[in-house]
Subunit: 232 residues, 2 copies
Amino acid sequence: MAYDPRSFPPFAVTVDIVLFTVSDTLEILLVERGGPPFEGAMALPGGFVAPDESVTDAAWRELAEETGLDGDLLKGVHLEQLATFGAVDRDPRMRVVSVAYVGMCSVRPELLAGTDARDAVWVDVTQLRELAFDHAEIIATGLERVRAKLEYTTLATSLAGEDFTLGDLHRIYEVVWGIELDLANFRRKVLATDGFVEPTWQKRVSPAGGAPAAVYRAGTATHLSPPLVRPQ
Amino acid sequence: MAYDPRSFPPFAVTVDIVLFTVSDTLEILLVERGGPPFEGAMALPGGFVAPDESVTDAAWRELAEETGLDGDLLKGVHLEQLATFGAVDRDPRMRVVSVAYVGMCSVRPELLAGTDARDAVWVDVTQLRELAFDHAEIIATGLERVRAKLEYTTLATSLAGEDFTLGDLHRIYEVVWGIELDLANFRRKVLATDGFVEPTWQKRVSPAGGAPAAVYRAGTATHLSPPLVRPQ
DNA sequence: GGAATAGTGTCTTTGAGACAATATATC
DNA sequence: GATATATTGTCTCAAAGACACTATTCC
C-alpha cells in the first residue's frame, strides 16, 4: 500500500500506566488532574510518547517519573503492555490513541518521592471514584489481566518484596483475587512448582505471633504449568 | 497534566491484521508490497486509521476490504486486538505506531474476491519468507496468541465452518498446535464442556471413508474451564 | 478384505480441594 | 492460656492420558 508521508492523518499517541501494588488491599497509583477536562478527577499516570522514543520506552519513563524510582529499583517492577484504546472521542480535545501498560510492584518508602509524583496516591481498587477519560475501562482491563496472570505465571512475586514468606505470597493471591484460598493446598502448589520460589534458608517472625516462617525469594520460572487456577 | 493540543508530537497510526485460517496447514493472509520500502516482500494487510473512525473500526474495515467479505459473513470472523508495535524506526519513512489485530476465520470461496484483495494470498505459517517491517514479530505474537486461545476459549469453532464434525475440530487443534492429540480423549473433553459445541442431529460422511460423523455447530460458551491444555 | 474414520470403554496417574493435626511464636 | 501463624498429613474426587476395542464407510 503506497501512501504520501506528508498527508497522513495526524494522531497523538500517549501511554497510560496501571500500576498495582498489594498492601492491605489491592491498590493502583492515580494522579489528580489539575486542569480541564475532568479537573479534579483522578486519572492514570501517563503522558505523550516523544518522537524519538519507542512506546515501551515512554511507558518506562513515565513509570520512573511518577514513582520516583531509579535504575536498580525499577528492575524489581514488572511492566507489560496491556491494550490500546483508540475510540474517536476518548479525549474531548483532540484525537488521542493511548497504549496502556500494566505494572506490578511492591510498596516501598522510596515510592512517591519523585518530583512528578507529588500528587500521586495509592487508591484501593474497590474504592474508585469518578475517573477521567476512559480510565475506568482501562483499569478494569488491567485488573482482569493481573488476576489472570497470577493463574499461569509467577508474577505474584513481583508484588512481594525482595524476599517473602509463603504466607505473604498467599495473602497476595487472596487480595488480588478477592477470595479465600486454603493455605495448606496453596503451599503445596507453590513448592511443587519448580522455580516459582527458592529458599533463602532464613526464618522470619510475624509481629502478630505464630511460628517463624521460612523466607523465600522469587525463582527463575516465569510460567506455572499446571496453572494455579481461581476457584469457581 | 496540561498540554497544548496544537503542539503534540505527530504520529501516524495504522492497523495490521494477522488473519488465520486452517486448511491442510495453518495459514495467514498476506499481501505483496508493490512499492518501496520492502518492495516485493510480503506484508500483513492493513492501513491507516482515519481521523473519524476508532482503531477497532479501522481494523474491521481493513479486514472487510482485504477479504472481500461483507456484513453477514464478517460476523463469522473473530477479530481481537493483539498488541501495539511502536519502535521508533519500525517504518523507515516516518513515525508509525501500529495496532495489530488477530483474526480467525474458515476458508470460504468468497474470500479474496474483494477489490483490494487481488494481491492477497494465504501462506503457510511454517513457510514464511522475508517479511516487510516488523511483521515477522507481529505474526509470531499472533501465532502464540491463537495457540494460547485454543487452550482456554472455544475460538477453535471460528476456524471451522458453520457446522463441523468433531474430527474437523480435532484436526484444527492439531494443525494450530502442530502436535498430535488423542482423538478419544479430545472428543470426551469437548463433549464434556457445556456449550462448546451443540449437535445438529445430522450425519456427514468423509470422502476418505470411515463411519458417518455427527455434525455439530458452535455452542454459546466462550471459555473452557478447565482448559484444554497443550501437552508438554 | 484393507484402510480410514467414528465412537465407546477402561485403567492409571496426577492433582485439586477439604480438613484434621501439630508446632511455635506473641500477648 | 488464648490466639495467630506455620507446617505436615490424609482422604476424596475430578480430570488427563494411554490405549484397547467395536462400528461403519470407501476402495
